[in-house]
Each structure stands twice: as C-alpha cells, then as structure tokens.
C-alpha cells in the first residue's frame, strides 16, 4: 500500500492541521466500517484513510514523512477491533434494539418467517387449498347490459378487474371470473370472482326479456298524414314509416332491433308505441278546428259510462 497520505485525504502538501482534520472527518463519516457493515471496500478505505490521518495529524511524524525519513506505513499499528465485529454475533444481543416501535422489537423470529414465506401472519402448514371466492357487485348502464361491454371494477384493495358484460345481461345476473378471487394456499388454485350485475334504468327504453319497448312521441300531422320518422334503437337510429291515420297507442314492431342475438338466443324485437303530442298550437290550427265540421263524430268516452 504505497499510497501518498496527502492524496488519500485529498489535501495539498502544505495543508494546515485543520484542513487535514476536516478532510479526515469527511472521509471517516463516509467510510466508517460500523456504518457500512458488510462493505469490504469501505473498511479498506477507512483503514487507509485512518492511517494517513494518524501520520499527518502528528506534527512530528508528518515532518519525518515529509523529510522522507519514514514511509506512509511507518506508523501503522494493527487497528482495534471495531464494534461491528461484535455486533453481528451473539454478543450483539446485548444491544438488541428495544426502541419504541413494537412492530420491529415485538416481532419474534417466527413472525418474521411466516411473513416472508406466506405473505401472511400465522400461516397454517396444510396442503394445497383453493382460495376463497370473492363477491362483488357492478352497476351497469342499461345499454351496456343489452349490447355487452367491458367495464372496470375497482376492488377494495385498489386493484382493478376488467369485467366483460355479455350482451343480454339481465338484472341480478352473476358473472364468474375464474381465478380472480383470493389466492390459493400452498400452490392451490385461486378462487373465483363472482360479480352480481345491477342495471340502471334507461330514460326511454324498457326491457322485457329479449324485447325492448319504447314510447315514441309523434306530432298530430305525422299521425294523420303518415311520415317517415327516425327511431332510436340500442344499436343506433333507424328510420320507420308511420302509416297515415295512426293513433296514440299504435304499436309497431321492429324485428331484430331488440336485444341482439347472443349464444343460442335469437335477437329480440323493438316495440314502438306511438304517442301523439300536441305541442304548441298556432291560430291557424285553432281557426281550422273552429270551422271544421267532421262528417261523423264519435265520442271517445262513450264506453266509460258515468264512472259511478
């Protein structure tokens, strides 16, 4: 180890004793072996730095070294055994940590091991066992349940589960995701995730099995004269013809426009019930009706009697 002690400490040849002390302190903090257990390089550096400091901090030895009377190892003596050499052996138990953190001090070896090996405390050494099924609920939009969709479920532990809602899902259906429940024990298979689906109502669609019902508002003109109107369906808008003289309550059937076919189940129908909406009335309509003398008048309440 023919190393210049000045270079080791990183100080110039004419460094003051104070500079040397500062440089040594800085290096000692970094390389002290008790602060770097298991780090051989730090230990070696610390030994060399200490030796250099011992030489240079002694004015007499430093003068003799500068004069070339002794070499850099001249003053070296075997270093004392450090704390570390005892601390990791049984003797170290005398200074076992007893501070305020019960999670550390209160933990015995057995606890530590069960944590390492099973990820949970107090694991039972039994054979493989299947994990628990976990139950969740997922609220789906009406149209998602009709046409199918993938929705993300956030689990209580923060994990997420992508749930594929199949077309034609109905209220209360339970989906099973295999292997997405609690993990198995000792290489046992994981449990399943069971997801109960709840469906929120739609603004204007209602559902009856595979069929979907819709009440469609039309104007009095469309009802009397007939028209081609646009009808919303779960799969997008379609056009539909209203025959002349259609009345409120007229039910039209659009086959294949209900719940789409899935598995062995064929597609359902969309039933459209017409409802005449008067809307704002202008003077022209008023005047027309005043002067209108229908050839035949029929009382729409004729069959109702008096109600008493």
């Amino acid at each position: 180890m023919a190393e210049d002690p000045y270079k080791l400490l990183g100080v110039p040849k004419d460094a003051s004793p104070e500079d040397i002390r500062k440089a040594y302190r800085k290096l000692a903090k970094k390389h002290h072996p008790d602060l770097n257990p298991g780090n051989k390089a730090a230990e070696e550096t610390f030994k060399r730095v200490s030796a250099a400091n011992e030489l240079l901090s002694d004015p007499e030895k430093r003068a003799r070294y500068d004069a070339g009377e002794i070499d850099e190892t001249g003053a070296e003596k075997p270093p004392p055994r450090t704390y570390r050499q005892y601390a990791e052996t049984g003797a170290g138990e005398r200074y076992a940590y007893t501070g305020g953190d019960p999670g550390f001090a209160g933990e015995n070896f057995e606890d530590l091991f069960s944590t390492i090996f099973s990820g949970r405390q107090g694991a039972r050494p039994t054979g493989p066992a299947r994990g628990r099924d976990e139950h969740y609920t997922l609220t789906a939009e009406f149209l998602d349940a009709v046409t199918g969709a993938t929705r993300r479920l956030t689990l209580p532990d923060g994990q997420t589960l992508d749930v594929k809602i199949p077309p034609g899902t109905t209220e209360g259906d339970v989906l099973r995701l295999r292997g997405r429940g609690a993990p198995g024990r000792n290489n046992g298979p994981a449990g399943d995730a069971l997801i109960e689906i709840h469906i929120t109502p739609h603004k204007f669609f209602t559902r009856d099995g595979q069929d979907i019902h819709l009440t469609l508002p039309i104007t009095i003109t469309e009802a009397v004269l007939g028209a081609k109107v646009t009808v919303p369906t779960p799969a997008g808008a379609v056009s539909m013809t209203i025959k002349p003289h259609s009345d409120t309550g007229t039910k039209l059937r659009l086959p294949g426009r209900g719940v789409p076919a899935h598995g062995a189940t064929p597609a359902g129908a969309l039933f459209v019930t017409l409802q005449i909406v008067l809307g704002p009335v202008d003077p022209a309509l008023e005047n027309f009706l005043r002067s209108w003398k229908p050839a035949e008048t029929k009382d729409p309440r004729a069959g109702m009697g008096t109600g008493s």
Binding site: R25, D34, Y83, Y86, E88, G92, A96, Y97
Partner: protein, 106 residues
C-alpha cells in the same frame, strides 16, 4: 471481563461523566452495579464507536440516540439475516440452495 480502569486507560479522551451518562442512557450496558462495572469486549467496542461518532464524525450528542438506534436496528436485522442464513444452510435441500444461489447471481 474488563474493568472500568482498563477502559479509561484505553480511551484517554473519555471522561468519567460521559461514560456515566452513556451508561445511564443505556447506550453502554456493562454488567454489575456502579462502582463494580464489568465490561465485555462489545461494550469496549461500543464505547469506541460512540467516541468516534461524537469526536471524529462530529455527531452532536443529542443526535446520538437516533444514530445508535438506527445502528442497533441495522445490526439486529443483520443478525437475523445470519440466523436465517444458518437455518437455510442446515435445513434446505441442496437443489434448493443451488437454485437460490443462482437466483441471486452467486
């Protein structure tokens, strides 16, 4: 066993009041009552460590409990690692040891 006289002979910069305080704080834990302390090798090494922390590394004494507590936790963990290592050495089948060594690149 080491007497307190030997300790003071070895550590010239150590003052009686410092050591008394360190013992009172349980930073150093000799056996026996005051007046007849007996020190183990580890106690001697710990006194050297505390002196070096305080004087060489300029750790102020109020910060020493924190530093010592962290060191004690570190060494406790390393002791446990060694025990774990010994236990694995004794109990693990050879093939598992080989697999572990390979896993850690040993």
């Amino acid at each position: 066993m080491i007497t307190i006289e030997t300790i003071f002979l070895e550590f010239q910069t150590l003052r009686q009041e410092d050591l008394d305080r360190w013992i009172a704080n349980s930073w150093v834990r000799p056996e026996g009552a005051r007046g007849q302390y007996r020190f183990h090798e580890i106690d001697r090494a710990r006194i050297r460590l505390i002196l070096e922390l305080r004087d060489t590394m300029e750790v102020p004494e109020p910060a020493l409990p924190t530093v010592l507590s962290l060191l004690d936790q570190l060494y406790e963990m390393r002791r446990r690692m060694r025990q774990l290592n010994d236990a694995m050495e004794r109990t693990l089948p050879a093939e598992l040891k080989a697999a572990l060594l390979q896993h850690f690149g040993g």
